[in-house]
């Protein structure tokens, strides 16, 4: 990749949490750095609460980052220019139920970004664009005047995708965009994402829990655990040769739609629970559940190290 579209440097996102008289820092994202190339898809996977959604939102300044920088085409994203930046960066939210205004018709939801950024010259153009977007995401044109509550979860998510696509962005944060869709539609949407990428060169940060989907759509995959990226590599490299013990167990948990493989496979079931991000373990965040953990893991947190061919792992034992 010649140039980076998005560059995230030492991003930290802490949230203050009141605990009695004290205020604790919840380290949702703790010192995360990565890049997304132009027209590239970076998959981001991890368990609930690992901060993958927060990373996506911090990039768009939906939260004000605690520390660290985010660059879009070399230009730092700040409070001042974010409104303008959102013409180039959009997000598809995870929850199709709360991300659509119940008082607005589908037409107005999809049209809102067009209104905000004034991307049409007359009403007819606006309507045509909206209907075009609706068709792209597989919604009937006759649904334009309906309200969000009249749709199933899957259809609502498609409205959200149409809304993100409305401004023709260069970068979309896709926060679990297909997990709410039907399998037969999922493939259409994944193909649609891929086609849009080919056509418009849009880059994605693709956050999802379905690792098969992530592997299919992503060029590279980053794995997060408790606010930190533990491994980044090319999609195939990561899937075939996972290095970090957490990645290994994560991959072994993916349900494979093939009964024979499913029967023969050995799951690596993780001991214990994810520690509370309010009381992070010292050193490596994964050490409490890791069977290879040593004294060093408790003392110091490992940083991402290149193991060759851009396979970065943050583990003392690899």
């Amino acid at each position: 990749m010649s140039e980076n579209l998005i560059e995230v440097k030492n991003l930290k996102q802490y949230f203050p949490v009141r605990a009695g008289f004290k205020t604790l820092q919840l380290k949702a994202v703790d010192d995360v750095s990565f890049t997304v190339g132009k027209g590239e898809t970076l998959g981001l996977v991890g368990e609930s609460g690992c901060g993958k959604t927060t990373v996506g939102r911090s990039i768009l300044h939906l939260y004000e980052p605690t520390a660290g920088q985010v660059f879009f085409e070399g230009e730092e994203i700040t409070k001042k220019n974010i409104a303008e930046m959102r013409k180039k960066m959009q997000i598809v939210f995870q929850d199709p139920y709360s991300s659509l205004n119940p008082r607005m018709t589908v037409e107005d939801i999809i049209g809102e970004p067009l209104d905000v950024h004034k991307l049409y010259s007359n009403k007819k153009e606006r309507r045509e664009r909206i209907l075009d977007l609706m068709e792209t995401v597989g919604l009937n044109a006759e649904h334009a005047t309906r309200y969000a509550h009249e749709f199933s979860g899957g259809q609502r998510q498609r409205i959200g995708i149409a809304r993100a696509l409305a401004v023709n962005p260069k970068f979309i944060v896709c926060d679990e965009p297909v997990s709410a869709l039907d399998v037969s539609i999922q493939a259409q949407v994944i193909n649609m994402f891929e086609e849009l990428q080919e056509k418009l060169g849009v880059a994605y940060l693709f956050i999802a829990h379905d690792l098969l989907v992530v592997r299919h759509i992503s060029k590279r995959i980053a794995v997060m655990y408790l606010g930190k990226i533990v491994e980044i590599a090319d999609a195939d490299e990561l899937s075939d040769h996972p290095e970090h013990p957490y990645t290994q167990s994560l991959l072994s948990a993916v349900p494979i739609p093939d009964p024979k493989i499913a029967r023969e496979r050995q799951r690596i079931v993780l001991e214990g629970d994810v520690p509370s991000p309010l009381h992070m373990p010292t050193g490596c965040p994964f050490r409490t559940r890791c069977k290879y953990a040593t004294e060093q893991c408790a003392k110091e947190c490992p940083t991402l190290k290149d193991k060759g061919n851009n396979h970065l792992v943050a583990c003392w034992n690899r």
């Binding site: 609460g49 709410a180 994944i190 098969l212 349900p255 009964p259 079931v269």
Partner: protein, 335 residues
């Protein structure tokens, strides 16, 4: 009757319809199947295929505008569609429980989870006072919730999605039902939690010897969990069989399309082949096969006549005209 092959629940030609302003929606259209004791039966299909409604019909927890318009649901030989509400209340929870897709909306936000689990136990067992709490905490522990005593006093919003789903399972299993209906139990969860929950359901299923109807759209989950699979489309069963038959020898065009459209280890770098068109409009079902409008192989007869379910082999049935055509073609070849 042999304990192992005992048919616990038998759904016979079930029809469920909903009255809407736009007309009557026939959500389930003549569905029949048997659930054996200790079996995990997977029902797979997309939204609007009637997979959830067929499960809700068993529990009779349909929305106000919905009703069972035909057919029978036999539980241990008794037709429960004839039962009154009082008897059904006993059936729900005690004989048959359900876990819903969305653990946030299926828990009451203004009561503690302890309160909600206790309610199920209080209603369906003779336990009193302290015993109820003990049982609730025991159940929370059983489904893998740490610090169950503390969780007992917490509200749903204080728990993560995976934890909430565990609470739902604890609640569903608190009265040791014969049948557990799991309606997309892991759809809202991510993969390691999904693996834990599925393992939990499998473990509890073996331990308690209950039968599970697993309703999902995720073929990976189905492959992982189920002995037998039913594929539904447009309110009808289009194919049924053992897991191996469905995955390696699909005989319905819809099943074939589904398997082509999901990313799998074998087709990672190839472009997915989606099923064309949009999900079916249940208000406007075609006269013939429900899938005919999206089917590449559709014949003339598919548009006008509903295909019968045909035996492919002893473990496999499919309702697709292509199989009949193939059989006829083969017959011609021999003649």
């Amino acid at each position: 009757m042999n304990e192992e092959n005992e048919v616990l629940l038998s759904v016979r030609d079930l029809h469920t319809s909903f009255k809407t302003d736009a007309g009557t929606v026939q959500a389930v259209n003549g569905v029949s199947y048997d659930l054996k004791r200790g079996e995990i039966l997977g029902i797979v299909g997309e939204s609007g295929s009637g997979k959830s409604v067929s499960a809700y019909s068993i529990m009779q927890i349909l929305a106000d505008n919905g009703n069972i318009s035909g057919g029978q649901v036999l539980y241990k030989g008794e037709d429960i569609t004839k039962w009154n509400e009082h008897k059904m209340r006993d059936f729900r929870g005690k004989c048959c429980s359900i876990i819903f897709q969305d653990p946030m909306t299926s828990l009451n936000p203004v009561f503690t989870i302890g309160n909600q689990i206790s309610e199920a136990i209080r209603l369906h067992t003779d336990k009193k006072g302290k015993e109820i709490k003990e049982r609730a905490i025991e159940m929370l522990e059983l489904v893998g919730i740490n610090e169950p005593e503390r969780r007992f006093k917490q509200y749903p919003f204080e728990l993560s999605g995976g934890m909430r789903q565990r609470v739902m399972i604890a609640m569903a299993l608190a009265c040791e039902p014969d049948i557990l209906i799991a309606d997309e139990p892991t759809t809202a969860l991510d993969v390691t939690i999904q693996a834990q929950i599925l393992e939990e359901i499998q473990k509890l299923q073996k331990k308690m010897g209950m039968s599970v109807i697993l309703v999902t759209h995720d073929l990976g989950v189905i492959a992982d969990m189920c002995d037998n699979i039913i594929v539904m489309y447009g309110g009808r069963i289009c194919e049924r069989g053992t897991a191996d038959e469905i995955f390696y020898n699909p005989k319905h065009e819809y099943t074939k399309g589904l398997l082509r459209s999901i990313p799998n280890i074998s087709n990672m770098k190839k472009k997915l082949v989606p099923i064309a068109g949009t999900p079916i409009n249940m208000l406007n079902l075609p006269a013939g096969c429900a899938f005919c409008t999206r089917c590449d192989a559709a014949l003339k007869v598919c548009l006008t006549e509903q295909p019968e379910e045909l035996w492919i082999n002893e473990n496999h049935k499919a309702a697709c005209w292509m199989n009949i055509k193939e059989a006829l073609d083969e017959g011609k070849g021999e003649a």
